[in-house]
Assembly symmetry: C2
Homo-oligomer: 427 residues x 2
């Protein structure tokens, strides 16, 4: 017991030293030029390519340990780094270097009747804490996004990928050194001890300005429960496609198939299909058949089951479920208002789409569905910073506070007001 | 004990019913027209004027109870409503009606190479919870700002002002009814029980989108400690004025006097004066004399004390103190970098000002002081939404997350993405 207490105290003091170093680095980063930040990113990309063999060796250790612990094939695949994935990490760093630098941007400027000139300028948030699960590429992506947006970052990756993350982190440090930026700009928590996460959540209020959890429901829930600093949340994507009676049938089939099946494991994948009761005899059968023929399991209400013998029965739980798999829940709703009602009740305010040729119906859906992203005649799989043209992202926020939707470099910033006077005093 | 448990359960169920009603009202408000929101505000202003006698009677009850409890004269004054203050509440509602409606504003719009049209639109946050201390006018101000920004609000005012707040709230309800908006748009917690605050902080995650504490340090600290939903914080304003060696001496005297003494009780009042060591023989004496002659107590370091016999000795605690009174701490610093260092160490990231005629020195200060508002050659007392031309405000945020500086109607909003397609699916 004494050993445990002392270990916790050691972790606390370790994390505080990371915190202090991050705050100090953040001050330098806030004033760093775009050129030096980009130089660090481009050098880090070069280091990733040069160090590919080292990264792969480190990754082999993670994979062996994961196999020994009987991790699922899906998790092993997320963990794996091959040449192609390493090249894509390097490319990702270069892509972030190519993005516009948000820092210092004049967001607004106006002059008051008394002559005061007020400017609203974009500034970094300060220190970002990122807690993520096993994917080692997040180390590079998240580190680079924070650097580009002028923030210092403390990365706490999953223990399964610790060797891979460390090897990648070494390359980021080479980039920072090459650009003469402080190494504490991107710090990786050097211990897999879970106490480090607890400390980040509630014991580093003086050092961390915002926390970003990236991972499964239980991680995000823990962060939202325990965090004492602001959180950019990435809850589940329980996305819906609503097929209206006025939808083009072929378009509806294509969009539904793509929204569900293009990639089933991403947060923008559709999980529930809503079909207009007025489209029961026209759209229901072809849309369901398109899904079933493509190998998707369909769990339907009574009407959907009546349309195709391959449909299995849905339960109440299905409307609440983010499958992240080739399974979709399907039900009949009473027009656009019924769709809005269902989404309000079961959705996660992430991304929802309507397929209809009726402009008025579309506007009703777009206005009334209160989700980060609402689409008309397009696949939910477009829910992605890259697809939005915002460049790389740290995730899709389902919060309404601070950042909503894709969280890219701009969403990792704050602002400050600069007021230029000539001696004004207030009456 | 059973009675206490049952009372707590009653409060919990009462608060949940307020929460459910607020969520329902928020949906209506999000789609309400500017015209109907403004009509509610203008009608509420008329009701305030009509009901002035009722409001004053209610206020007398609060004042009597406050006197019986020996509240300080300052608190009694904050509680008092006279004809002039009631007229200013009504005028405030009309001013908010006259502000531009942020909701529905197109913040950005762009088209992707695949033809998708992406629009970023301003939407309300949803349900705002406001916890405030004794000033009864906050009931009207905060209620009106939330209504204008399309948010439902749950107001929890201090128990000292409960009768006054209820009378004002009645007028707001008259306005909502006149405009046919749901009464649950602006709800006042009908009990002074402290358990209601605890429930708002941690037991209404499903209903409240953001909390705004308005009050003293202990209230804000409790909210930041216990809240399970995002908070727009309004911590102390430990504001600084730095007088540089290149400052115009007369301007420095005017700005320092105004920053400290125009109103000493507001968060934008200066609390610490920093004087450039290089200005010791030129600026120090006249600036300190201007303060002392105006009746301000000056607590100085050794050099400041040497300048004027009336200066008393400052201790380390003084650099940390928000006096909200006619007292100022004063010390010598080593140029602009010394000023930045002092502000970084002791400041509250609220509002800080430099007085100098040297443009380069000014830029150094403006860039390096990490506060919500940084001024050049102007008084810190301009830290105010009205003075910024943003209209009424709910306070000045010292957070970097979501909203920084004055929190007006625009800062009480979020956004959503609307994506218009023609059948696009993702490759």
């Amino acid at each position: 017991m004494n050993a445990a207490i002392s270990a916790d105290a050691d972790i606390a003091s370790l994390m505080e030293s990371l915190g202090r170093a991050a705050v100090k680095a953040a001050r330098v980063l806030a004033q760093a030029t775009t050129q030096s930040k980009n130089a660090a990113l481009v050098s880090a990309a070069a280091a990733i390519r040069l160090q590919a063999p080292t990264i792969k060796s480190a990754n082999r250790i993670d994979l062996e340990q994961a196999r020994a612990r009987d991790l699922s094939p899906a998790l092993l695949d997320r963990l794996l780094l091959n040449d192609q994935r390493i090249e894509s990490i390097a490319q990702g760093l270069e892509d972030i270097a190519a993005l516009a630098d948000p820092i210092g941007t004049k967001m607004a400027e106006w002059t008051r009747p008394n002559g005061l000139l007020i400017q609203r300028l974009r500034v970094p948030l300060g220190v970002v804490g990122i807690i993520y699960e096993s994917r080692p590429n997040v180390t590079a992506d998240a580190g680079a996004l924070c650097l580009k947006s002028g923030n210092a970052v403390i990365l706490r990756g999953g223990s399964e990928s610790q060797h891979s993350s460390r090897a990648i982190h070494e390359c980021l440090l080479m980039g920072l050194r090459a650009a003469q930026l402080p190494e504490a700009a991107i710090q990786l928590v050097p211990t897999p001890d879970r106490a480090a996460v607890g400390k980040m959540l509630s014991g580093m209020v003086d050092y961390i300005d915002v926390l970003v959890p990236r991972g499964g429901k239980s991680l995000v829930a823990r962060v939202q429960q325990e965090a004492r600093v602001p959180v950019i949340g990435h809850l589940e994507g329980l996305c819906h496609v609503y097929v209206d009676k006025d939808a083009d049938i072929a378009m509806a089939c294509e969009i539904v198939k793509n929204a569900k099946l293009r990639r089933t494991g991403i947060c923008g994948a559709a999980e529930t299909l809503l079909i207009d009761r007025a489209a029961l005899s026209t759209h229901l059968r072809p849309v369901i058949a398109a899904l079933l023929d493509a190998g998707c399991e369909v769990r339907g209400d009574e009407s959907v089951r009546a349309a195709d013998a391959r449909v299995v029965a849905a339960t109440e739980q299905d409307w609440h479920t983010e499958y992240l798999d080739a399974i979709i829940a399907a039900r009949i709703v009473d027009g656009v208002d019924g769709a809005v009602e269902h989404i309000e009740r079961y959705g996660s305010a992430h991304t929802d789409s309507i397929v209809t040729a009726n402009a008025q119906t579309a506007e009703r859906f777009l206005a009334n569905v209160d989700s980060a992203i609402v689409l008309h005649n397009a696949s939910t799989q477009f829910a992605d910073g890259g697809e939005f043209g915002m460049g790389a992202e740290i995730g899709i926020s389902t919060d309404k506070f601070h950042a909503r939707g894709p969280v890219g470099v701009e969403q990792l910033t704050s602002y400050k007001y600069i007021v230029r006077g000539t001696g004004q005093v207030r009456a």
